[in-house]
């Protein structure tokens, strides 16, 4: 199985949130990041909130989710109900980190990437949409969707 190390193009560390370097991760088989980005277990309740938050995950912009108290779920992507029975934790982590690795044409934003982006607003430059722990929190929430 092919193993590729992404996120670190050169020796220069990529700056993520306020000077924090991006965590290195390994993509296995082009479809999975098996290892946690932080080593700290995700918090599913926090993750649910982050998935709703318009300036964080904003997953509802594109996905229907079993979050009935929020109105207007988007339908650009598939319904995420039951998504944990379709994908492993590693596969879900990869989709959160950078879905373009799976499908280069996807509209889904890469939530943990700073490289190869064009004309990013200054305020967001060299910052990831989600912090490493926030990725793990949303992942913990997704894993409850069986």
């Amino acid at each position: 199985m092919a193993v590729a190390v992404v996120a670190m193009a050169a020796a220069m560390p990529v700056v993520a949130d306020a000077g924090v370097a991006l965590v290195k991760y390994e993509v296995t088989g082009g479809e999975s990041i098996a290892k946690s980005l932080t080593g700290k277990p995700g918090d599913a309740a926090k993750g649910r909130g982050l998935a709703i938050h318009r300036k964080k995950g904003n997953c509802l912009a594109c996905h229907a989710m079993p979050i009935p108290e929020q109105s207007f779920h988007g339908n650009i992507g598939p319904d995420l109900a039951g998504v944990a029975s379709r994908y492993s934790a590693g596969e879900l982590r990869l989709r959160l980190v950078d879905a373009t690795i799976v499908n280069k044409d996807t509209i889904m934003p890469a939530f943990y990437r700073t490289a190869g982006l064009h004309r990013v607003l200054k305020k967001f430059k060299d910052k990831t949409v989600l912090k490493a722990q926030e990725v793990e929190d949303i992942l913990a929430y997704l894993l409850t969707l069986k």
Binding site: N58, L60, A61, C62, S71, F72, H73, G74, N75, I76, T100, I107, P109, A110, L117, H118, R119, V120, L121, K122, K123, F124, K127, V129
Partner: protein, 274 residues
């Protein structure tokens, strides 16, 4: 033009509407009322067809359409002399209903002396500076929006038909590349939303094809008229991308490509959107 005359115009407009209603009554058929077929051409459709019923109704009725405050201002400006040459638009262009008819279907257009594309706003300022020796209007000023809307509204119902071959071809290609290029922290291209996902919901927003045929238009969110470049800037900032300047070459070329995407759609300036 005096306030009274503007009032008179409004009465005339009301008269036209009443006549139209009588016409429908006499025809005995209102089967087509509410049909949006005229806002489609081939596989393309205007943002009108995606808009809520209430929003469409505002656009359909010139009296309910809040953009008419700007159209009326544009009409007044048309015959107001300004600048050292002591001329107004009407000095050279007479009745806008004749001379400006079709302009919106052709712009942005290639300008030989500039060696690039120019938008309607830029042509208006060329005339103000060169012909009237007046100050150029600021892009998003109420005067520029009024004048552009007034000029474009003279083409209402005419089919979008920008020229994209010949000298315009390289600029068209640049606009097309812009449309398809991902940008911003969210890494999205215009195409991702307005081509791949037109008809889908982004949260509470029904995504349209991102057509330009209603501009300048009244946006309920803005509570005023806005230019197409304002819209481009908003769509750039939403994906956390650095916007370009009003009137930048990038946006004028993009406007050309967007105009071509809407070829055959009727000009509907001043449209209403939410």
């Amino acid at each position: 033009m005096g306030i009274e005359q503007q009032g008179l115009k409004r009465h005339l407009r009301l008269g036209t509407i009443i006549m139209a209603l009588i016409g429908v009554g006499l025809g005995g058929s209102i089967a087509n009322a509410g049909s949006d077929d005229k806002y489609r051409a081939g596989d393309r459709s205007s943002g009108y067809t995606y808009a809520a019923k209430e929003t469409r109704a505002m656009q359909d009725d010139d009296f309910a359409n809040p953009a008419y405050i700007w159209i009326d201002q544009g009409e007044a400006l048309w015959s107001t002399a300004e600048g050292a040459a002591g001329k107004s638009c009407s000095t050279c262009h007479d009745d806008a209903a004749d001379t400006m008819k079709g302009v919106a279907t052709r712009y942005p257009a290639y300008d030989k002396s500039l060696g690039k594309m120019k938008s309607t706003e830029q042509q208006i300022n060329i005339c103000r500076v060169k012909q009237m020796q007046a100050k150029p209007f600021k892009w998003e000023s109420s005067q520029m929006l009024s004048m552009t809307a007034y000029v474009n509204s003279q083409s209402r119902g005419m089919a979008m038909n920008v020229k994209v071959d010949g000298a315009a071809a390289p600029f068209f290609e640049k606009g097309k590349a812009f449309f398809n290029e991902r940008r911003g922290q969210l890494n999205m291209a215009c195409k991702n939303c307005h081509e791949d996902n037109a008809g889908n919901m982004a949260r509470a927003n029904l995504l349209s094809e991102g057509q330009s045929t209603g501009f300048p238009l009244y946006r309920l969110k803005w509570q005023k008229l806005g230019s197409i470049h304002r819209r481009f800037r908003g769509c750039n900032k939403n994906v956390r991308a650095k916007p370009y300047g009003y009137g930048s070459d990038e946006y004028v070329n993009l406007e050309l490509y967007v105009g071509w995407r809407g070829r055959g759609l009727p000009i509907e300036t001043p449209a209403v959107r939410n």
